[in-house]
């Protein structure tokens, strides 16, 4: 895929070229939205909105990391979605069990190719991490999702959300610390290799 050529074509209004870019990046965009919002349906809506918005404003893309630019668009779409939720709170979309209670673990999100044991373990870990991510302040969550989940480097994240590099370093460190503290509460769920040691006191 010649990304640069596709971007130029898309900037000229070629929707097919932009759709090729969408097919390449849609999983990353969706995962970012999913981790920020914590809900699959909302993440799908935010991703769709982000791609529409990205196509309409692609002429403003002046080079650099296209993925970073897309991530900025999707985080903005997620912020919009969160603002909407604040204005009009809704009930969670997690399915109910047969008893009519909400599922503790999002098994309905699991990869169907895993064995039952793997699925159970992954579900527990994923649920624990998502729970801890949901408790992070939005600006911390955005940085940790981009850096640790999407694997973007510091400069890419800084350019994407337009904050100084030092702020990215600080937010990432504090986000990791908060996640570590939160995940201690799920110690029994985590595989032995991921168990964390107790007690970091940061002054």
């Amino acid at each position: 895929m010649n990304e640069q050529a596709l971007i130029q074509d898309a900037q000229g209004g070629n929707l097919d070229a932009f759709n090729t870019l969408i097919l390449h990046y849609q999983d990353s965009v969706f995962n970012t939205a999913l981790r920020i919002l914590g809900d699959e349906d909302q993440a799908a809506d935010a991703s769709q909105e982000a791609f529409i918005s990205a196509f309409k404003s692609i002429s403003s893309f002046r080079g650099g990391s296209f993925k970073g630019w897309l991530m900025r668009t999707v985080t903005n779409a997620c912020y919009d979605e969160l603002r909407r939720q604040k204005r009009r709170p809704t009930t969670p979309l997690e399915p109910d069990t047969e008893d009519g209670e909400e599922m503790d673990s999002p098994r309905w999100l699991a990869d169907p190719n895993m064995t039952p044991d793997q699925k159970a373990e992954a579900d527990e870990v994923e649920h624990a991490i998502q729970h801890c991510l949901n408790n992070l302040p939005l600006e911390f969550k955005t940085v940790v999702v981009m850096a640790d989940i999407q694997g973007m480097d510091y400069t890419e994240v800084a350019a994407s959300i337009r904050v100084p590099l030092g702020t990215i370093k600080s937010r990432l460190a504090r986000a990791r610390l908060r996640l570590r503290e939160c995940l201690q509460g799920f110690a029994e769920l985590l595989p032995a290799s991921y168990r964390l040691e107790d007690g970091i006191n940061v002054s």
């Binding site: 929707l15 097919l23 999913l34 529409i52 196509f55 460190a173 991921y194 040691e197 970091i200």
Partner: protein, 224 residues
């Protein structure tokens, strides 16, 4: 542990420290087990996040032209047809308005004594009444005579005279004046914009609209 050390450890984990900073931190890590323990925890946390399963998008997010509001390219003449059709529609409505106002003005004209036709009409009405008035008592006085029955010839003569009153020169004048007034009214209530123009405007407006619909459909079909 302070905030500065936490940021150093986090950046060290990602290889974001300068070589000199890294060397200094590594020497501290060797001598400070608590610092080393925090680094282990942060690394475990980062690994957990990295191991988080990547979800596949539940559907393709590819865009349609409708979603982004793209319209099919239209011929260059299209805006001219649109303009002509819109202008013709406006003029058509304007012509209806002008004709309606003109008709109302014409019907109000006699009431306000406007124009010679209106004055003549009033005058003629009075004249006509004046001429008719004597005829009516004449007819009324004749009625008892008819009932009593005497002098049938006299009755018929008087009735004929009464009937002849209408043919007097004054009555003839009144009749002509009335005819003139009617002609004036007809002339003044004639539409200011002729129906030929209105039909032409309607043809342009409707034809333009039909052309635009057709062109849009053809363009959309070709675009697909």
């Amino acid at each position: 542990m302070n905030q500065r050390d936490l940021e150093l450890l986090s950046a060290y984990l990602d290889g974001q420290l300068k070589p000199s900073e890294s060397a200094h931190l590594e020497s501290r890590l060797n001598s400070d087990p608590q610092l080393a323990s925090v680094l282990t925890d942060l690394r475990a946390t980062r690994n957990l996040l990295r191991k988080l399963p990547a979800r596949k998008a539940p559907r393709n997010f590819t865009l349609t032209r409708k979603m982004v509001g793209q319209n099919p390219p239209l011929p260059r003449a299209y805006p001219w047809f649109r303009f002509a059709s819109a202008l013709a529609t406006l003029l058509l409505f304007f012509s209806f308005g002008v004709n309606t106002v003109g008709r109302q003005m014409a019907s109000k004209a006699p009431v306000f004594g406007m124009g010679g036709g209106g004055g003549a009409s009033e005058e003629s009405t009075e004249l006509f009444s004046a001429q008719e008035a004597p005829a009516a008592p004449a007819a009324a006085t004749e009625a008892p005579i008819l009932e009593t029955g005497p002098m049938p010839t006299q009755m018929s003569t008087e009735a004929a005279d009464a009937a002849r009153i209408v043919d007097t020169p004054v009555a003839k004048n009144a009749g002509e004046t009335e005819n003139a007034v009617t002609a004036d009214q007809v002339q003044s209530s004639a539409p200011l914009v002729s129906s030929t123009w209105q039909i032409a405007l309607a043809v342009i407006a409707i034809g333009g609209m039909l052309f635009m619909v057709l062109v849009r459909q053809i363009s959309a079909r070709r675009w697909k």
